[in-house]
């Protein structure tokens, strides 16, 4: 007789919640943390920054490729990046987990560890302050992140002005190269994802894979950009070209990228780098690299090395989604 690995369906909701809180609960910084009807969080300057982003099995991750730790880490990181992209400092996450009965409990433990580790590493002082557990056929992780502005004005994507310097902090293109590795090298001939054998990868490839599975965007540089006087700020989740177009459209300007830039950097999604504009007089803060300048609005929202780019503009979350696989 073999002992089956315990799954979510073997535990009561309360027992599962207790396991998760054993990992994340003692980090709570809130006035009221997990355990009551809602959390109560102090935001000293009277403004709270709120964002939500969901990872769904299939379009956003595959269990053959992502460990629970990867998944928790990524679910935290993508939400922390949206807070940072307002120039704010993350202080709390709420985590809503919809879990299949058949999911191993050990996977949920790892997921909680990944959530906590991403907070500790990317946004010290940010903790999981609440959440929700439900059962679902489709593993789904919906995270809400809250942040504070510490007295600064939020930095919108609509504030870019002609003459501003355009800069970026963080990776561009690594996450999409990591995804290509998974699709090209870790699927069967029938397209079924198989577990990653890191021994088959070079060091550079392992870095790209980590950027895809456990992105580590420069969260602390969001408030740094705000204090340095950034006129516009957003995170690059759908590719530089598409997200710069959104910033240019919101600001009524053209963003002229110096270029040349490779296809991965221009069109690759999921890096969650910070795209910022700074008035010419402002010195670029450490961690930001100049990639262009803001011009009065011309025909194209974005130019690269002086020319309007052609072809697909960015990341399509519907691409390659196939319910039979992964």
């Amino acid at each position: 007789m073999t002992r089956r690995e315990p799954t979510v369906g073997d535990l009561s909701e309360r027992a599962l919640l207790t396991r998760i809180l054993n990992v994340v609960g003692d980090a709570s910084q809130a006035d009221v943390g997990p355990g009551d009807d809602a959390a109560v969080i102090t935001v000293p300057d009277g403004r709270v920054v709120l964002t939500t982003d969901t990872l769904v099995h299939g379009p956003d991750f595959r269990l053959a490729w992502s460990t629970g730790y990867d998944l928790g880490s990524k679910a935290a990181a993508v939400n922390l990046a949206d807070v940072a992209a307002m120039g704010a400092r993350p202080i709390a996450l709420l985590v809503a987990l919809a879990l299949p009965d058949t999911l191993p409990v050990a996977f949920v433990d790892e997921l909680a560890r990944g959530l906590r580790a991403a907070c500790d590493r990317l946004a010290p002082g940010c903790a999981i302050e609440g959440g929700d557990l439900t059962v679902s056929d489709t593993l789904t992780i919906a995270v809400t992140a809250a942040g504070v502005l510490d007295g600064a004005a939020p930095v919108l994507r609509s504030g870019a002005r002609p003459g501003d310097t355009v800069a970026v902090a963080g990776e561009l293109g690594a996450a999409t190269r990591g995804l290509a590795l998974l699709f090209d090298r870790f699927r069967t001939a029938d397209g079924i994802p198989v577990e990653v054998d890191a021994g088959l990868l070079t060091e550079a490839e392992r870095a790209d894979l980590a950027a895809q599975l456990r992105p580590a965007p420069p969260i602390a540089l969001g408030p740094v950009a705000a204090r340095a006087g950034a006129s516009a700020l957003m995170d690059v989740s759908d590719g530089l070209l598409l997200d710069a177009t959104r910033m240019a459209d919101a600001s009524g300007v053209t963003i002229a990228l110096d270029g040349p830039l490779g296809d991965d950097a221009l069109r690759g999604g999921e890096d969650h780098a910070l795209l910022a504009c700074f008035p010419t007089a402002a010195a670029l803060p450490a961690g930001f690299l100049r990639i262009g300048a803001v011009a009065p609005r011309g025909e194209a929202a974005v130019t690269v090395a002086g020319a309007a780019p052609s072809g697909r503009s960015g990341w399509d979350p519907y691409r390659d989604w196939d319910t039979q696989r992964g």
Copy 2:
């Protein structure tokens, strides 16, 4: 040639988002509403109340029984109730929708209308300030609600003291009777949910059904209870017996319900009534009815008419969940 009804898969993410924002976007009250990386919301007393609750197709609703409007309305209401249960006033919702490609676009329109209508009806001044759209095989609605305390202290479930009056505001048992109607009367012999024919129902049954599909908890009475000096407060989502046990355990007391109380009221979930304790000296605010008193902790966490209740204590979200149905 017949024209197929447009589905989520026919629209781009942006087009779908635009449709939703056409319904909910103009109600925004935030400093920064939908459209940037995150929302920015003013909370004048420097504290924000945050909660998240998810509805998943299957365990939480069936498409044969719930319209899009029902679903949006319920997703809002259950989260508003958790804010009210802290004594707070809801001011913002974030809505993360994970939608099957095959879902009719008209259903999403109705869902947005239901979300907005529930806010307008139950918590005027609360609006949808952000969200997220993803594709999923399993229709999932993860809502986060934010609220403000307007200078009052949050009312926890741990504050009940011997001698307090126990009171409730809102329905007890109606939602579970509504669910029983659906299971008993609107399924095929094989257990497949079929559309509700309201003509087959009495007026009382229609009210029970509405309590299940579009609950309308007394959100405004949360802050009223706080101002009236409530010592403990929570929402009754899993049945009075189970939730009163949670409050009694958190407070280290016994909650002695006057009784007798029917099984629906004691064990029926999803009503989202407010369970409150008030110091004896405090007058019960309008809308609250006395149902018992707080006693020093005895053997049982909860007694009904002097005796410890037996049998199943409350609502089990895993009950009757069957992936092949609904």
